[in-house]
């Protein structure tokens, strides 16, 4: 609740949050919200201009653009979110074990992560897709396989900060079991770091996965997906450039909302900053922290 309250003070973050919630809800309830069937072909309405019946016009097969856009939320945003959560979960399990128990387990797991991270991520995703075959499911599997190591690294670093603190040592001496210590004392404090890291990768992941669909390696026709819609629009780019606008703008709006939210989360989740009313200081910390984000960009 506290987090929500401090987010609501930042107007940009509040707007981003609302955009994301609306997008997700629209994606889940797509069949009830979309005015038409996204795959309904109507050759009479090819390239029809926007009308009250079809608010965003129709595409090269006369399908309703708005409905396709709404159904496209599912593969473009919801499935990506799911893949992100799974890879964060794997990364968190590895990161907690490595960061808390240290020693040989840590060494072994981190060497595996090092090897995973020494591959160029994009190329390996492409390779996994090449082996498993094209399709959205395989693209998502490839992303989970390539992304967890990065999360494991970051979460391990965060866990290590807390694992050596006095209250953790005290709990150990008092005879608390390791699992209970992790769950009660370490998970709550690292949760904010995990939230920041994962929300920060969401934007680039949406872009990359829709890029795969754009190349024809992701979701297959006739399903609607934003990257896929752009690819279809590209075929008729010379005569109907306006078809590229809607899916492109949708991607930009959702990705920038995730990026803004991630930046705001960094500030909101830092306990040192919650009480602080000094905007300037907040900004300073935010820019300093952004250094870490740049590193992440350079990795992907």
């Amino acid at each position: 609740m506290k987090i929500l309250r401090s987010l609501s003070k930042d107007r940009l973050a509040a707007v981003s949050f609302i955009v994301i919630v609306v997008t997700i809800v629209a994606g889940i309830f797509a069949p009830y919200i979309a005015p038409h069937d996204p795959n309904e072909v109507n050759m009479k309405l090819r390239f029809a201009a926007p009308s009250w019946e079809y608010l965003l016009g129709n595409d090269h097969l006369g399908r309703c653009m708005l409905s396709r856009l709404i159904y496209g939320i599912r593969p473009s945003v919801l499935w990506v979110l799911g893949a992100l959560l799974i890879s964060v979960l794997i990364g968190a399990i590895v990161g907690f074990i490595a960061g808390y128990f240290r020693g040989k387990v840590d060494f072994f797991m981190m060497r595996i992560c090092d090897i995973m991270l020494s591959f160029p991520g994009y190329v390996m995703t492409l390779a996994v897709v090449g082996i498993l075959g094209v399709g959205l499911k395989n693209v998502l599997i490839a992303f989970i396989l390539m992304k967890w190591a990065w999360f494991a690294r970051v979460i391990r670093t965060s866990v290590m900060q807390y694992a050596e603190l006095d209250y953790v040592k005290f709990s150990k001496v008092a005879g608390m079991s390791d699992i209970k210590i992790i769950w009660k004392h370490i998970v709550p404090v690292t949760l904010s770091d995990i939230a920041v890291v994962s929300s920060g990768s969401m934007g680039s992941m949406i872009l990359q996965i829709s890029g795969f669909s754009f190349l024809g390696l992701g979701i297959q026709a006739p399903n609607a997906e934003w990257g896929m819609m752009l690819n279809e629009a590209r075929q008729v780019m010379f005569s109907r450039p306006e078809l590229m606008l809607a899916p492109g703008l949708a991607t930009i709006i959702v990705v920038s909302s995730f990026n803004f939210l991630s930046d705001a989360l960094q500030v909101a989740l830092d306990p040192k900053l919650i009480s602080s009313t000094n905007r300037l200081q907040e900004k300073e910390v935010a820019t300093k922290k952004r250094g870490g984000k740049i590193y992440e960009y350079t990795r992907s």
Partner: protein, 310 residues
């Protein structure tokens, strides 16, 4: 310094071995039998068990796994990546020229990215908090959220079709470079100029800057001092950027029909041409490790403190 370079190169060799092994394992994990893929690709109408066994023997698939790996590795070191399943041509004759084309695109874009990000980074750091700084950062934030293929398509539509200034695809003359390089540069300069800017800002308040200023050194000279120190971080990140750009030109190449690795790899994924995919992954992973090593060596050359680490 010499011993550091040797040590650093020795460290990267096991990594290269692991990478090559993983690449090999990955391809062998494929749910499809390579022999079957070859027969399908060659358009054999009816696949009999006899034919399968024969093809397997031809491809050397009947040998044990480890022996196949070493055979493959030795062949790869001689640039023999086998033959394409689809066309039957040697993989290197397909991937070699494509690699060169991608490399050209990457090098030109990297140079543009480096120049742009240093320029923007320096200007923004020196004018921190002003309208210039704010607007450049805001604009780059916006550009980072834009799908690169969308930007590319828009630019093709505007510059190539509407204004008819530049070619839409292929690589015929220097003019074909302008659009793809612009898209890649816009995508990456927005990220890397922040690195330069942040490291400049960290150096602005160092003691040596204060000292130089107190001694009356002209501001321009101070800026050069700061730049030289802050570029250290930037250089290692730029070195890492080159293989990343090399790998992520896939989308751009496909939009602009650039005859490079990206177009080739997507085509071979769609036709399940495993030897090409394998060679592609191996070459790029090796490039990744090599540039990584190179960036460490350059850093150590500039900062003697780092040499002790190994």
């Amino acid at each position: 310094m010499g011993s550091y370079i040797i040590k650093r190169i020795l460290v990267s060799i096991p990594l290269l071995l692991i990478i090559s092994f993983l690449t090999f394992v990955l391809i062998n994990l494929s749910p499809l039998d390579p022999a079957e893929v070859v027969l399908h690709a060659q358009g054999v109408p009816k696949i009999t068990d006899e034919l399968m066994a024969q093809t397997k023997a031809e491809l050397g698939l009947d040998k044990p796994f480890i022996i196949r790996y070493f055979d493959w590795l030795v062949a790869c070191l001689q640039l023999d990546f086998g033959n394409s399943y689809v066309t039957g041509e040697p993989v290197w004759s397909l991937i070699g020229p494509a690699f060169l084309n991608t490399l050209k695109l990457t090098v030109v874009s990297s140079v543009v990215i480096i120049i742009l990000s240093i320029l923007l980074g320096v200007v923004c750091a020196l004018r921190e908090g002003t309208i210039i700084d704010q607007s450049v950062r805001g604009f780059s934030f916006f550009l980072a959220t834009m799908p690169s293929y969308w930007l590319a398509s828009l630019m093709i539509w505007y510059f190539a079709v509407k204004l008819d200034l530049l070619p839409t695809n292929g690589m015929d003359s220097y003019r074909s470079y302008i659009l793809p390089v612009a898209v890649i540069a816009i995508n990456y300069a927005g990220i890397y100029f922040r690195v330069v800017r942040n490291s400049m800002l960290n150096h602005l308040n160092e003691d040596y800057v204060l000292y130089a200023r107190a001694c009356g050194v002209p501001e321009r000279k101070i800026t050069i001092h700061i730049l030289r120190n802050s570029l250290q971080v930037a250089i290692s990140i730029f070195c890492m950027a080159i293989p990343i750009i090399l790998g992520s030109t896939v989308v751009i190449e496909n939009v602009f029909a650039w005859p490079g690795l990206g177009s080739l790899s997507v085509r071979s994924i769609l036709s399940r041409d495993f030897p090409i995919i394998q060679a592609y992954v191996l070459i790029l992973a090796a490039a990744f490790v090599l540039f990584n090593t190179l960036s460490d060596i350059i850093n150590a050359a500039m900062n003697p403190k780092l040499r002790k680490g190994l």
